[in-house]
């Protein structure tokens, strides 16, 4: 079945450093979504990418969808302590009959002040 792999599992950065998490699917995706979960909280939807090669920005966050629609990345510029949490990608298989996204295992980001 479809698998979504996410790396790294953990990332520790100094405040001000950049951070990137990568998401790879075993199959071509119809779309990919990104979520953030703060410690002790619930996942919150950040963004959806649909088009091949698409790039979207939200302030210091940059999201990319690969040309082959099988991979994606989230890049945070100049991390802040408010960026702490776990970032999940979730993909919908192209042409699949499933009614649900497949989530990656997440990247846990810690930021040292």
């Amino acid at each position: 079945g479809q698998q979504v792999m996410q790396i790294p599992q953990y990332q520790h950065v100094q405040e001000g450093e950049d951070f990137t998490t990568y998401c790879n699917s075993s199959t071509t995706l119809s779309n990919i979504q990104w979520y953030k979960q703060r410690p002790g909280g619930h996942p919150v939807f950040l963004i959806q990418l649909v088009k091949s090669g698409e790039v979207k920005k939200q302030k210091r966050l940059t999201f990319q969808f690969g040309e082959a629609k099988k991979n994606s990345s989230l890049h945070i510029t100049a991390t802040q302590t408010t960026d702490v949490g776990t970032y999940f990608c979730a993909g919908l298989e192209q042409g699949g009959s499933q009614g649900n996204l497949i989530f990656g295992k997440g990247t846990k980001l810690s930021v040292k002040p």
């Binding site: 979504q33 909280g41 996942p43 963004i47 649900n100 295992k105």
Partner: protein
């Protein structure tokens, strides 16, 4: 607009007891989901529903049951609770996995089975 409401927020069960985790959404979403998240781990899909009267198994359905009699409600039933079911349970809803609005998650139910 309440979004997705889960009750209870916390619960301690004894081995062998049963309980129902409640989930209600007021956004008229067709799709609803139940996930469990073990400490420090990702989300595992238990059951999902694409509309009232329709439910489907996810990755880890054993030990759980669901029903979807209305669009708004999607309760999760635990029968004969086991320590392995100690986890945080999240309910989520969406118009469709293909829309740009993503899943809306509830705040979770933290369940401990002792």
């Amino acid at each position: 607009n309440a979004g997705v409401t889960q009750t209870p927020k916390f619960r301690i069960l004894k081995i062998g007891q049963s309980m129902t985790l409640q989930c209600t959404q007021d956004m008229n979403h067709n799709y609803m989901y139940w996930y469990r998240q073990d400490p420090g781990m990702g989300l595992k899909l238990i059951y999902y529903s694409v509309g009232a009267g329709i439910t489907d198994k996810g990755e880890v359905p054993n030990g759980y049951n669901v029903s979807r009699s209305t669009t708004e409600d999607f309760p999760l039933r635990l029968e004969l609770a086991a320590p392995s079911q100690t986890s945080v349970y999240f309910c989520a809803s969406s118009y469709s996995p293909r829309t740009g609005n993503g899943y809306t998650f509830g705040s979770g139910t933290r369940l401990t089975v002792v």
